[in-house]
Symmetry: C2
Subunit: 435 residues, 2 copies
């Protein structure tokens, strides 16, 4: 049977008698997948390594955390995405290090994978700025498991509030704190507001979910620093209209299972979500490369690591400056552009064209949504807010979802939610999923 089970053993590196160059891509996020696709027609073997079996559409992860979408609707198997790219192979494995001198990547199971070219696209995780102990009480939102964990906490808080008699404990259960006023924090706070005020409104008999307190805390002077001030102010007003309390200019000083302290004041709250910052993956450490405060590798103009012309770093793990001298933002379109650039540079080199090709970031626009019919969009030449921006946001996100099935099903879920005010994935699963 073995000969049957084995399709072709070790045939990847051999094509006839000629050994083809081997391009390793670490991470199958937006950057890694774009790099793989850019190498589609290049005469090389591409190996994509990810510790997950799926590509995750992170911009909609907060919708899983707030029970609007199911995990599978924003995640697609990496193998399916690359199944038709015959020069690509997918390996599910955890990377533990890079031996740049020997041109090898180290895997957790002790094995190594050799490369001729390497593209590091391992993304970022949320960071607690020296307060790592806060992670237990204030989970961040980067993985599917984070999202279902936060969903469980939010839904369980309402269930527990319905079941207990102590008014103080009930008050803490019905207080939801989101820390961080960037796009993720704004989207989370708005979505929790929608859950409390619409989705659950008529379903409890003892508590009144519409009276839940949702507090968005931002240490800086304003929300959404990536947006123009008038759009950010529009977002703030839309949040207030949704019943969210926006607290600016007050940092969180303390965080535990019972609540937070911010601006010297204690706020009892049983559900806290962290959206205040990210830290790049440990690629800089693996490579011994120079990094910025957020852990991002400071790359050369062509996205290679200085001193390692065959190693590229892209996406949230790389620090690159845009034409105006600003760091390229950690968003999906930027990661895609960087991944595609690295792939094209390698393809050109394989074709014998070795001239330097600097990466140029093109900012297509910024979008953020607050809730039903409320969003902001900034295209530089055009600013949009309100329902039009919301439709733009929805259409753009459905368009960029990676597979046809997801597009169709997400569109349907949203239309259903829009007309019924309900949410389709209100499941308390995992952990304390049962009482």
């Amino acid at each position: 049977m073995d000969s049957g089970v084995l399709k072709r053993k070790g045939s990847m590196a051999v094509n006839g008698d000629k050994v083809r160059p081997r391009v390793l891509i670490l991470g199958a996020g937006f950057g890694g997948l774009s790099a793989a696709k850019a190498l589609r027609n290049a005469p090389c073997d591409v190996v994509v390594i990810d510790r997950r079996n799926y590509h995750l559409f992170q911009p909609l992860l907060y919708q899983v955390a707030t029970a609007a979408l199911s995990p599978a609707e924003i995640a697609s198997p990496i193998r399916s995405i690359l199944s038709r790219q015959k020069n690509a192979r997918v390996l599910m494995a955890r990377v533990t290090g890079i031996d740049a001198a020997a041109k090898r990547v180290l895997l957790q199971d002790g094995r190594t994978e050799a490369f001729d070219y390497l593209i590091v696209a391992t993304g970022a995780r949320h960071a607690y700025f020296g307060h790592d102990d806060w992670e237990g009480c204030a989970p961040g939102l980067k993985k599917i498991e984070d999202a279902t964990d936060i969903r469980r906490r939010i839904l369980l808080a309402f269930e527990r509030a319905e079941a207990i008699d102590d008014p103080e404990a009930r008050k803490a259960l019905l207080t939801f704190v989101v820390i961080g006023g960037g796009a993720t924090g704004v989207e989370m706070a708005g979505a929790i507001g929608e859950v409390a005020h619409w989705a659950l409104a008529d379903e409890f008999r003892v508590i009144d979910p519409t009276q839940a307190r949702i507090v968005l805390i931002e240490a800086g002077p304003r929300l959404l620093p990536a947006f123009p001030e008038d759009l950010a102010e529009h977002a703030r007003k839309a949040l207030v209209k949704l019943g969210v309390e926006v607290q600016l200019g007050r940092a969180v000083e303390q965080c535990d299972e019972g609540g937070i302290v911010y601006g010297g004041e204690r706020l009892p709250a049983r559900t806290i979500v962290w959206a205040a910052g990210v830290q790049a993956s440990p690629a800089a450490k693996w490579l011994g490369a120079e990094k910025d405060r957020a852990g991002r590798v400071i790359v050369a103009k062509d996205l290679t690591v200085p001193g390692h012309p065959d190693i590229f770093v892209v996406g949230d793990t790389a620090l690159v400056l845009d034409p105006k001298g600003q760091p390229v933002p950690g968003i999906a379109p930027a990661a895609k552009q960087m991944g595609a650039h690295a792939g094209r540079v390698i393809a050109a080199r394989l074709a014998g064209r070795t001239e330097e090709r600097p990466f140029r970031y093109r900012h297509a626009g910024s979008l953020a949504t607050i809730g039903r019919s409320a969003a902001i969009a900034d295209f530089g030449w055009l600013k949009v807010k309100g329902w039009l921006a919301w439709w733009l946001w929805g259409i753009a996100h459905i368009y960029f979802l990676i597979d046809f099935r997801s597009r169709f099903i997400v569109a349907l879920q949203w239309l259903w939610s829009y007309f019924t005010f309900r949410r389709g994935a209100r499941l308390i699963t995992g952990g304390e999923g049962e009482m």
Copy 2:
């Protein structure tokens, strides 16, 4: 704020000055929900207690385990289902016992809930017939978490087989064993066959998933004892056509992480699914009632517990005989009929009609699916097999799904799978969800 958060405190038992009878329903499966609905217009307060926040459409759970559907597509929040039934309240809590004399249900958090009438609809779990240590290596399929666990094991087995070099280990990874030849076992084996032979066929570069070995083991002499012999034989042939090895008349003697021993023979296999039997919930113990071998409470003709005229047991937890003297099967339609019956008896008593009303089971038919275009249906007066039975099966299951959104989305997922041969929820999450 407290007065705002509190909608109406303790108002459930009081209606004006008159205290209304209190009906407790334990479990929001098919039996419990039908009972609640039958009491919709009765002058009583209904409290539905479940340790989960959702009703689960168990007949499609195997489709979650085999990556065809997402959990939220077969689960609906109990609160949503009952939100318009004004005399019903939902409480998420775990029941630990029943004090029948004092007419109280004991909850895990130490609180109690009083009742005038009680309907126990707590279902069944899979059972290992004295081999409880097999649960770790051969998980059964009753909860959402069971399904995502089995999905993870199946998908991870292919990923690991692709990554390793040892041919013996690879062979064990690509061997899938399903123990038990009832409807769940047949459906699981068929669905794993479809995953291996179609969904994953083109996506691996080292292994060939179509060469995976799927073995269905049944200790009895034939599959599907609930069906006529010719339909069961059709199902066996359809499984063989799907590449499933069907082993009849050989019991599993040993089961561990490395494989099984059956009929004296060792079969190395890394993925084993248990579908060989169920055990009723501990309701008989709670009630001190007489039970059968499967732990089911032996109830009176009106579904009450002998000696406790105000306590009913319905669904998989009850042993009831049909008009032919056979035990009513543990399937959804039977649980629904029993729940509705118990609700109607209570409603009649509340209206002052106390004559005995024996429960009569009406068997509408049996359906089982093996895979694409292959199913069997037995309506007594009509037997159907093949593609027609498959369409009947699909339409019936979509019709019985509890909410409109699920019906629409499940229909779409199935149509998409039907035309593309793919599966929409191929996520490895939880546990060892990342490598």
